[in-house]
Symmetry: C2
Subunit: 245 residues, 2 copies
C-alpha cells in the first residue's frame, strides 16, 4: 500500500509520500513515490504516485522519455500550463494502459494507479491536481485544498481538522507528518522513510526536501509527542456525563 | 453508510452505532442499527448491523421469529453459549442469503451485511464477535479488543491510541463517541443520532443505554472540546525543526 498527500496553501505546497511497496507480505520493498521535474526559474513539477508499481514506474519512465521532445502535448518542459502538464501525466497513464491493461486483466491484476501533481509554470498559478486511473483529473480549489492517494482514510481526520488555505508551510508539513503517523499506526503496509517536499509559491524551484527515516529525531519527537498529546487531550475533554452505569 | 463499534473491556462492553442509511443522496433515512435481546439475570445479547438495509432487517426479523422456538440452533433464548449465539446470527444471515442473494445479483446489488454481536449467557464469559457476509465469524481476544463495521477507517486511529482492556467503561464510551465524531466529519453518510449501550460484565442485563441526538449537550461538549483539544495539541507538539524553507 501507499500513502501520499499534497496540500495547496497560500504560501505554497507541501507534498509527502511513504516509500513502502508490497506484493504479498513476503515482498515488501522500499521505492520512492515522489518525482520532481524542474527547470529552476522557469517551471517546477512534483508527482506523487500510488497503485500498481509496474504501472506507476512505467508512467514516470514514459514522462522521462518524453522530456526534451519539445512536444507540448508530451514534454513537461514544453507544457504551456499546469493544465497541460496534468494532461501529459494522464496521457502517459493512458499510453501504458493501452500497452499493458489487457495482459494485466488476463492475470486478474487490477489496472490501478493514481497520481497527485503539483507545480507551477512561469507566468501561471501554482496548481494541484489529482489524476485518476482513467487519466482524467480534478484540481484543488475552494475548500478542497488537499488530495490524498493510496491508503487515505486513517490520515484524513487530522487534515480535516487542522489545515486551512492560510496554514503556514511548516504547520502543514507537521500536519502531514502526523497524518502519516496515524496511517502507519493503523496500516502496517504504509511505512518509512517519508519523503517530504515544500515548495514556496512563485519561486519556480524546490524549496526544501527531506527524507525522514524511522529514527529521524524530529519525526520521532513528533510521533511520541503526538501520542502523548492525544492521551492528555482525551483525559481532559468533556465533563463526567453522570451516567449511572 | 454506517459506523458501528463494539469494545470488550475488563469491566464490560461498550457498543455504539449511528443511525443514518442512504440509498443515493436523495434517500437518506434514520434507522436503528442496534438490537438487544435479553432475559435479565439469564442472558444478554446486543447486535449491531451494517450493510444492505433489507438484508440486515431481514436477519433481525428472522432472529426475532426464531425466538421462543426453543431450538438451541435458532433461538437466542435457548442458545447454550455465546458461540452458539454467534452461529445463530450467521445462520440467519445464510438463510436470508439463500432466499435473496440470487435476486440481488440480478439487479447488481451486492449481498453485503456484517454484524457485531456482544453478549453473555449465564455461566459463560462475556464475548464479542464480528460476523461476516458469509456467516462466518471471529472473536475478540488478546490484543484485539474492539470490532468495527461499516465506515471503519476514519474512527480507527483514536481507538488504536486510547483503548486498552483495562480502560474504564466511561472512558471507552467517550473514546467511541470521539471515534464517531472523526468519522462523521470525514464521511457525511454517517450521522446522528448515536445509540450507545454499556453492559457491565456478569450483570446479565443492559446497564445503560442512551440515544445521543445532534444537540445533546454532552455530545456537543465532547465534539467541540475535542476539536479544540486537537488544535491545542497540534500547536504544542514538536519543536521547530529549523528547516530552511
Amino acid at each position: 500500500m501507499t500513502y501520499c498527500v499534497g496540500i495547496l496553501l497560500d504560501q505554497g505546497v507541501v507534498l509527502a509520500s511513504d516509500s513502502r511497496t508490497n506484493a504479498g507480505i513476503d515482498r515488501v520493498s522500499t521505492f520512492r513515490k515522489m518525482f520532481t521535474f524542474e527547470r529552476p526559474g522557469e517551471r517546477f513539477f512534483t508527482l506523487l504516485t500510488a497503485g500498481n508499481l509496474s504501472l506507476t514506474q512505467g508512467v514516470v519512465s514514459l514522462i522521462g522519455e518524453w522530456l526534451e521532445s519539445e512536444d507540448p502535448e508530451k514534454d513537461l518542459y514544453a507544457a504551456h500550463s499546469m493544465f497541460n502538464a496534468a494532461r501529459i501525466v494522464g496521457r502517459a497513464l493512458r499510453t501504458i494502459h493501452k500497452t499493458d491493461a489487457g495482459y494485466l486483466q488476463q492475470h486478474d491484476v487490477d489496472f490501478s494507479a493514481s497520481f497527485v501533481l503539483a507545480g507551477q509554470v512561469r507566468g501561471g498559478r501554482l496548481r494541484l491536481f489529482q489524476i485518476y486511473d482513467a487519466g482524467n483529473f480534478i484540481e484543488a480549489m475552494g475548500d478542497t485544498i488537499y488530495f490524498q492517494i493510496g491508503e487515505v482514510k486513517y490520515g484524513k481526520p487530522i487534515l480535516d481538522r487542522i489545515v486551512r488555505h492560510d496554514t503556514s508551510l511548516k504547520d502543514a508539513a507537521k500536519c502531514a507528518l502526523i497524518s502519516f503517523d496515524s496511517t502507519m499506526r493503523s496500516n502496517v503496509s504504509v511505512g518509512p522513510p517519508i519523503d517530504l517536499m515544500i515548495y514556496r509559491r512563485d519561486t519556480l524551484q524546490r524549496a526544501f526536501t527531506i527524507r525522514l527515516e524511522e529514527d529521524d529525531p524530529y519525526w520521532q519527537e513528533l510521533r511520541e509527542g503526538w501520542g502523548d498529546a492525544i492521551h492528555n487531550a482525551f483525559e481532559n475533554v468533556g465533563h463526567d456525563p453522570g451516567w449511572e452505569l
